[in-house]
Subunit: 307 residues, 2 copies
Amino acid sequence: MSLLVVGSIAFDSVETPFGKVEEAIGGSAMFFSASASYFTDVKLVAVVGEDFPEAEIDFLQSRDVDCQGLHRKEGKTFRWEGKYGFDLNEAITLDTQLNVFGDFHPELPEDYRDAKSVFLANIDPELQLEVLEQVRDPDFVAADTMNYWIDGKRDALEAVLARVDMAVINESEARKLADESNMVQAARAIQKLGPRHVVIKRGEYGALCFADDEICFAPAYPLESVFDPTGAGDTFAGGLLGYLSRQGQFRPRDLRQATVLGCVMASFCVEDFSLESLRELDFNIIERRFEKFQRLVNFEPLELLDE
Amino acid sequence: MSLLVVGSIAFDSVETPFGKVEEAIGGSAMFFSASASYFTDVKLVAVVGEDFPEAEIDFLQSRDVDCQGLHRKEGKTFRWEGKYGFDLNEAITLDTQLNVFGDFHPELPEDYRDAKSVFLANIDPELQLEVLEQVRDPDFVAADTMNYWIDGKRDALEAVLARVDMAVINESEARKLADESNMVQAARAIQKLGPRHVVIKRGEYGALCFADDEICFAPAYPLESVFDPTGAGDTFAGGLLGYLSRQGQFRPRDLRQATVLGCVMASFCVEDFSLESLRELDFNIIERRFEKFQRLVNFEPLELLDE
């Protein structure tokens, strides 16, 4: 089942306590596509400027990502500059230059419109709606969003949520969207807005998946070196949706596995700047990391010795 | 194997977004004892003032907690006042009155000195050392601490850590103690100070256990109602050490189970103010919650369908 993604492609300049990188390749659609490409065929819709390197499009194509929907426009590519503090948990945005992304309107090539699974990355919910108008009969649609849209475009965002099967959002955004601090209640409130399933991204603490009325918890792997969390959330979504699209099934047990695979893919992402660590994975490496996750949370039935 | 705990007993006045409680029973030794009492015999060392209710000592004794080491002194019991914000993750201390706790020096009754497992709750590391001088030949010693001692009594704290088998500390304290933001490296650095095992408490995100060179991750249960996180860390330690003492074995696989049981006990603690929810548990209730934890993190080996 092919997977359509609509999102941003950017140059990211990032400073972490461990180093600095200038104008590295980033953006939600880029991380998502690289990650999902290990599981399924991805169809990408995004916009870049004249300054975007052809080699990166070659990389996507080498991963069998369909780039018909990747438009190159006159002007410069979207740029984001941010830094992370000691605990790497929250990015501080230093600068955003929308450039060609400023008047982006997603246009789906004809053969994208029959995509059966769709990921609406974190962009203006009005653009997310434009995408939903163009796809014909998807089996599964997931959407991400952020505080900026929760505050500024609530109505459009609610119209999106009413039409999706899954929301994939950060913990603090879930609290804000639901106006509820308790995470279980926040997820239930978001489900009432439309999505049957809600996946909460918790950064270095992993992810919670509310699949219908089941809950599953996927840990983040405690890594010895975390360089840069930029893109981890979109890489997570790429693993999650990539796996589901490949399986073509969306039962709670599939969602459980998918949530763990999301965390597996994110664990690679943070080990290097930009999407460097997503360029040359293979299925064996992914499987070995998945097994490490299993060992991490593996405990036995409770048995008490008599005192 | 009986379990010796030395810590504080307090009256806590706590405000959370869900309510307020005045002078409720609290303190590290109190939460720890109540929690551990579901697994093993506890010997308690602490001090209270004349205002401490006899009924609470009756409660401890009804749970078979040995109260020979619970001294009642002239004056008032230790008091703590704090509040929690929207996400319940961090307590803001509003007031602390040490009262009889101010000149507390732990004195172990003679038949406490052969205790085989020991928990040094978060008190002045100099007092923790006084306890270690009095126990004769323990098999397993664990200690908690906090930022205040990391900053103010580093030498005494290091002398404690050099003599314990396990450190049980909050995530931010681990980062501070090790001066290292990466949690794996922080735990490894703390292990170099002495303890073979390091357990990191992460509040609503569960706990990480570094048992020798193995890592395990225990989730916190996503509860529909979390009223008051006060005491959750000590309740966690009570489940952890209570289980280990009962089993009398301290292999990495025992530590895994113990870490999960710590999270199980903490999940009860936060469901009500003070230690209300720890008063009338039984083993069936604990076992059912444990099984919920297993389902929460249960995922299958990875299997990919062909596309």
